[in-house]
Amino acid sequence: MDKFTQVRGVAAPLLIDNVNTDQITPVQFMRSLEPDYETALFGRWRMAAGDPFVLDRLRFKRAPILVAGSNFGCGSAREVAVWALVAHGIRCIVARSFSEVFRESTLKNGVLPICLGAADQAAFEQKVVAVDGQAAFEVDLVAQTIACPDGAFFSFNVERNERAALLEGLDDVALTLRHRALIDEREARLAAEQPWLQSAHS
């Protein structure tokens, strides 16, 4: 997994609530084993007539930070939604809230999900809209801060293990298998107490 320490760049506002993974990666763009994730990202919105989609505006084309509404990534569990954001260069998403499965998927792909809390989030969104891609924000996972172009700082909090995994690009399976003795113990106990669970389709 890619390591994440800090990211500096423009922040693209997508201040809509309940953006679902069908919108992030429409299934019509996923009909091959190796789809073009970059094209798929928000594919239908980007192909629609009218004003260009925010990530297609020149100043946001390389935006590594996406600023989103509440319940971001809801709906289907498809991880391709995160892969498509990564293909576009998104490394950090600041949202009012995330769908839990989507949030877990960002962490597995070296993308930092941030929730600032209601008051800070509103203030941060205002700055992002006002700056309008004309200056860079800096997200620092070590200090757990976002630095704004005007010098203001916002603090966020990522749980210790999640932060360590992002900072060091750790292998999730290797980390878990350090608990192998405990896993075996739990398995043996379930096998004794509920043996029918230990044979699925034999």
Binding site: S76, E100, L182
Partner: protein, 467 residues
């Protein structure tokens, strides 16, 4: 952390405690009893397992299913043609995993076949690389959806790290009236509770209404808990569940069943268990429900009027080609679909067939029904349901997810209006520009017959009491 101060536990907390391996930094490592990989994710997941040099911990507890990409009709190529089906088959064989392949007796939608075969059981933990995994909560199993990389971890370790969700109980009381079903209940719940309250939570559905439902109805209710944003959902297993399990192919039999029953009977929330949120919804006067917008929570009684929106929800109305204040009854439709992990079980087809018997699909309406599994299809055929659908003019498809996620090969044109038994009315979900109304199998069947959105109750009454 699993026990309330006075030692009482919720049903969720009991299953959680029985499967907790260890805790660290806000997350618990849960032992997983059943793992399912579907055909959209299996090729990549199993390739990565190989690339990372991982071993599958318990291949005997895993199942690979073909559902999302199955062509509904021989003339269709399905999602991505046979590419996903072929790659999934090859990967399952290579890794020695049990595969329910197209054409085989057990094949079907993951969350339909796993309960149907007794492969998920009360008190078991179930992970599928699909958001609708919590469907199995209808049997008292703890289902968790996840992404592809997470599933690699589950296959390699037989565990998953999970943040303990908040505990929410939704009590549904009252008795169903004719023409109203589990789908109407959960749509009503979505309308009442919205998308914020239950996000990330574990929901237990309780109350007299839930107790009176069949296991299939409970599966429908738990299926759409994820649309509320819930991490998982459960119904406490009871006599209804135990009776239903007796005939499941892989459920414990004889002495083992007796032993299992002693455990299953303990799977209920303690009387004094504390929930973070307790919600009570009276469903006694419930009318059939239908969605009007582009989230499953934008729902109304079929006899009602589309609300007049002034905020961002208006975008949903515009997409749906509707204006506030108008009724939906009488609105012309182009298609109907009966199927998906929400409503493709035998009782769903039965309920639609009550409306369809002796009737024809209206001219100009294309009607598709896709059973959720081969098992459902076989039983529906044996009971004459398939004949009723065919006589009415429905197309009868091969078991799979079909038109729920724009798969199955059916091409729907932009602007077409479809009444569908599926779980998501998102923009573009069933095709670019396609307008989806979610409803029950009976409501969908009634719309097919009338060629417009209508209340299914009069049609059902006529057929039940003779015309």
């Amino acid at each position: 952390m699993n026990v309330d101060a006075d030692g009482t536990m919720t049903l969720f907390e009991k299953i959680w405690a029985q499967h907790a391996v260890t805790q660290d930094d806000g997350k618990t490592l849960l032992y997983i009893d059943r793992v399912v990989v579907d055909d959209v994710r299996a090729p990549q997941v199993l390739k990565n397992i190989e690339r990372r040099g991982l071993a599958i911990a318990r291949p005997d507890l895993a199942v690979v299913v073909q559902d999302h990409s199955v062509p509904s009709f021989a003339t269709h190529s399905g999602l991505g043609g046979s590419v996903f089906l072929d790659a999934t088959r090859a990967a399952a064989h290579k890794h020695g995993l049990r595969l329910f392949d197209v054409g085989e007796a057990e094949q079907g939608i993951s969350h339909v076949v796993m309960p149907e075969l007794g492969l998920v059981l009360p008190g078991s933990t179930y992970v599928c690389v699909d958001s609708h995994a919590p469907t199995v909560g209808g049997t008292g199993a703890l289902g968790l959806g996840c992404g592809s990389t997470e599933l690699e971890h589950v296959l390699a370790t037989q565990t998953m790290w999970v943040r303990k969700p908040r505990q929410i109980r939704i009590r549904l009381d009252g008795q169903l009236t004719a023409g109203v079903s589990a789908k109407d209940i959960i749509l009503h719940v979505l309308g009442m509770v919205g998308l914020e309250t239950a996000r990330g939570a574990a929901i237990e559905f309780a109350g007299t209404m839930v107790k009176s439902l069949s296991v299939e109805g409970r599966l429908t209710i738990c299926n759409m808990a994820v649309e509320l944003g819930a991490r998982t959902s459960l119904v406490a297993p009871d006599e209804v569940t135990f009776a239903w399990l007796a005939s499941r192919a892989f459920a414990p039999k004889a002495d083992v069943r007796q032993q299992a029953l002693r455990v299953w009977e303990t799977l209920r929330s303690d009387d004094e268990a504390v929930f973070d949120v307790d919600i009570a919804i009276d469903c006694s006067a419930l009318a059939p429900q239908i969605t009007w917008g582009t989230t499953p929570a934008q729902v109304m009684p079929i006899t009602g009027k589309v609300p007049d929106m002034e905020d961002a929800s208006r975008a949903g109305l515009t997409y749906m080609g509707l204006v506030g204040g108008e009724p939906l009854i009488g609105r012309k439709i182009d298609r109907v679909f009966i199927g998906s992990c929400t409503n493709a079980r035998l009782s769903d087809l039965e309920s639609a067939a009550v409306v369809l018997a002796g009737r024809k699909v209206a001219a100009g309406v294309k009607a598709v029904v896709v059973p959720g599994s081969r098992g459902v299809a076989r039983e529906a055929e044996a009971r004459g349901l398939r004949d009723i659908f065919l006589a009415a003019g429905f197309l009868w498809g091969e078991p799979g997810c079909s038109m729920c996620a724009g798969g199955g090969g059916e091409k729907v044109a932009a602007g077409e209006r479809i009444v569908s038994t599926t779980n998501r009315n998102f923009e573009g979900r069933q095709g670019t520009g396609v307008r989806t109304h979610l409803a029950s199998p009976a409501t969908v069947a009634a719309a097919a017959v009338q060629g417009e959105i209508c209340d299914p109750r009069p049609l059902m009454q006529d057929n039940l009491h003779g015309r």
